[in-house]
Symmetry: C2
Subunit: 310 residues, 2 copies
C-alpha cells in the first residue's frame, strides 16, 4: 500500500494536469534579491545580516511560489543557498517547503546528500521523513531529494526505502558543469563512466516503478548535455530525468527533448535564475513576482513547443 501515491505517478500526473514539465529552482542568491525586500527585513532587526537576509529570502520565496504555482509542477530549493545563513537559513528552508506544499506543488530538495548506514538514514529522515508509513509529515519533509551515487547502493537504499510513502530520489548521473568530464567522462571499458552509473541507477530503481512505468529513483542529467541525454534515455527507460541547466547555464528547450518519451513525459526541466530574477530584465524589482510568473509561462511553453517540433 502506497500512502500518498507513487512519486513518479504523482509527478507525471502533475505534468499532465498542468501541461507543464517545469520545475522552478528556489535559489535565493543573496546578491540578486530585490533591494526593497532586504530593506524591509532589515528594519525588524539590523544586527545580524544572516537573519535579515534569510527573512528577505523567505518573503521572496513565498511570493515566487504563489506566482509560479500555476505553471510549475514542482519547486526545487537548493540547500546550499539556505545553509549559507546557518540556522536562520534552515528555518527559511522549512518555511519555504510548507508554502510550496500549500500551493499544491511537489518539492524536490536539491541537497545532493550522500552517506551510508545510519548517516544516510539521518539524511533520509531529514528530507523524506520517517520510514514508517503512518508517521506524520515533519517540518522540512519534501517529496524527493537529489543524491550523489558515489557510495553505491548503501548510499541510495535508505532514501529509496521511503518510496511507499510516495517519496522519490534523483541520483546524479551526468552533471551540467564544465569540469564534470574530469571524472564523469573517464572511460570504463570503452564507455564513459556516467553511462555505467546510469545503468546502475536504472537497475537499482527497476523494482520501484509506479503505474506510469517510471521508478521512484530518477536521474539528474544536465540540460547542457544533449548527447548524454540521448544516450542515457536509451539506457534508462524507467528513470525520470531531472534536467537542470536551462537558461542561465546555457541550455535551450531544444537541448532537452530527447529526455522525453513519445508521450512527452518522463522528464522535468529545472530553471532557477531565469525565472527568479526575470525582474532584472523587466526593470521593476517590486514586480519581481509578476516577472517570474511571466518567465515561468514562457519556459513552460518553450519546452512544450520544442516537444511538438521534435
Amino acid at each position: 500500500m502506497i500512502t500518498n501515491g507513487h512519486f513518479a505517478d504523482r509527478l507525471l500526473d502533475a505534468c499532465a494536469d498542468k501541461n507543464s514539465r517545469l520545475v522552478v529552482g528556489l535559489d535565493p542568491h543573496a546578491a540578486l534579491l530585490p533591494e526593497h525586500l532586504i530593506e524591509n527585513a532589515r528594519q525588524d532587526d539590523d544586527c545580524d545580516p544572516r537573519s535579515y537576509m534569510a527573512r528577505a529570502a523567505l518573503r521572496f520565496n513565498q511570493e515566487i511560489i504563489a506566482a509560479v504555482a500555476e505553471h510549475a509542477v514542482a519547486v526545487k530549493p537548493q540547500l546550499a543557498l539556505y545553509e549559507q545563513w546557518g540556522t536562520a537559513g534552515w528555518q527559511v528552508y522549512e518555511a519555504t517547503v510548507e508554502t510550496a506544499l500549500e500551493h499544491g506543488l511537489l518539492v524536490i530538495a536539491d541537497a545532493k546528500r550522500n552517506d551510508i548506514g545510519s548517516s544516510a538514514e539521518g539524511y533520509a529522515e531529514a528530507f523524506l521523513g520517517s520510514c514508517s508509513e503512518d508517521a506524520e509529515r515533519r517540518a522540512g519533509e519534501t517529496d524527493a531529494i537529489t543524491v550523489n551515487p558515489y557510495f553505491g547502493t548503501d548510499g541510495i537504499t535508505p532514501f529509496l526505502q521511503r518510496w511507499k510513502r510516495g517519496k522519490g530520489v534523483f541520483a546524479l548521473v551526468r552533471t551540467s558543469n564544465p569540469s564534470a568530464d574530469q571524472i564523469q567522462e573517464l572511460s570504463v571499458n570503452g564507455a564513459p563512466l556516467y553511462t555505467h552509473i546510469g545503468r546502475l541507477v536504472e537497475e537499482w530503481g527497476a523494482s520501484y516503478c509506479g503505474s506510469s512505468g517510471y521508478s521512484a529513483l530518477g536521474a539528474v542529467v544536465g540540460a547542457t548535455q544533449p548527447e548524454a541525454i540521448r544516450i542515457l534515455r536509451q539506457i534508462m527507460p524507467h528513470s525520470i530525468f531531472l534536467l537542470p541547466g536551462l537558461g542561465a547555464q546555457g541550455a535551450s528547450a531544444d537541448d532537452v527533448v530527447e529526455a522525453f518519451d513519445n508521450r512527452g513525459m518522463g522528464a522535468v526541466v529545472n530553471s532557477s535564475r531565469g525565472i527568479l530574477f526575470a525582474y532584472k530584465d523587466a526593470g521593476d524589482p517590486r514586480a519581481f513576482a509578476t516577472a517570474a510568473r511571466q518567465a515561468a509561462l514562457r519556459v513552460k511553453q518553450s519546452i512544450n513547443e520544442a516537444l511538438r517540433r521534435a
Copy 2:
C-alpha cells in the same frame, strides 16, 4: 599571508603536540543517547521530540568534547545526525562547533557537500566562512569539510579557495562501505576508478601545500580498505588522509599504518561509536563521558602502538 595558519600544518602540529592521530566523530545517534539525558531534556518541553532529542544531543556532545579534548586532535560532526532534527538539529550543530573550538579542538564538518558555482560557494560560506581574509568567524564555521568530488574541480575550488584562511577540504576517494566497489572499483584503463580520483585530488591540491609538505586538500579513505590505503599513499604523497571506519565498521589500528609517512604523520583516524557509546560496555550510562575519555585514550594509544610496530 595565511590568517590562522595553514590547515595541514595546524592539524599535524596538533598531532605532534598531543602525540595523537585521533579524530572523534560526533555522531549523536538518537537510539544510543543515554536515557537520563533524554529524560532531563524532555522535562523542559515535552511536545516536540525533535527539539528535546536535539537538546539531549547537545548536552551529550558538550560532555564528550570536554572528556576527549586531551586525547583527540579534532572532532568530526556528521551533519546527517543533526539535520535529522531539522532547525533544532542545526542549532545543536552550531553550538557543538563552538564548544569544540573552545576546547582547542579542530573541527571537520562531515557534510560531504557537492555542488557547483554559486551553490558550492553557498556551502563553502556555510561551513568554512567568508572567502574574505579578514571576515569574522560565523556560527557553524569549522576548520575543514568533507566533499564529494563527482563534479570535478568546479565542486572543489570554492571550498579550497578558503585555504588562506586556514581552511581544509577532504575529498572522498575510497569509502569504507561494502557497496563502494560498485562504482569506485570500476576499471578505468586497467586501474580502479578511485585511483584516478586519487590522482586528480593530489593534482588539484598540489599548489596548496603548507610548510609540513601537506596540502589543504586531503582525502577520505576508508580505514576498512588497507590495500586502497597503500596504493593511494603512493599516488598521493601530499594529501592528508582522513580515515573513517575504525572500530564499529571493523577496521583495526594495524589496517591504517600504511596511511602514515615515516615520521608517523600525514593521516588522522576517525572513531565515532566506539568512543561515544563506550559506556554501553562499561555499564553506567551516567558515566558516559568517563567511558568516552578512556576509550579515546585506548584508541589513540592503539594507533601509536601500531605505528611503532610498523
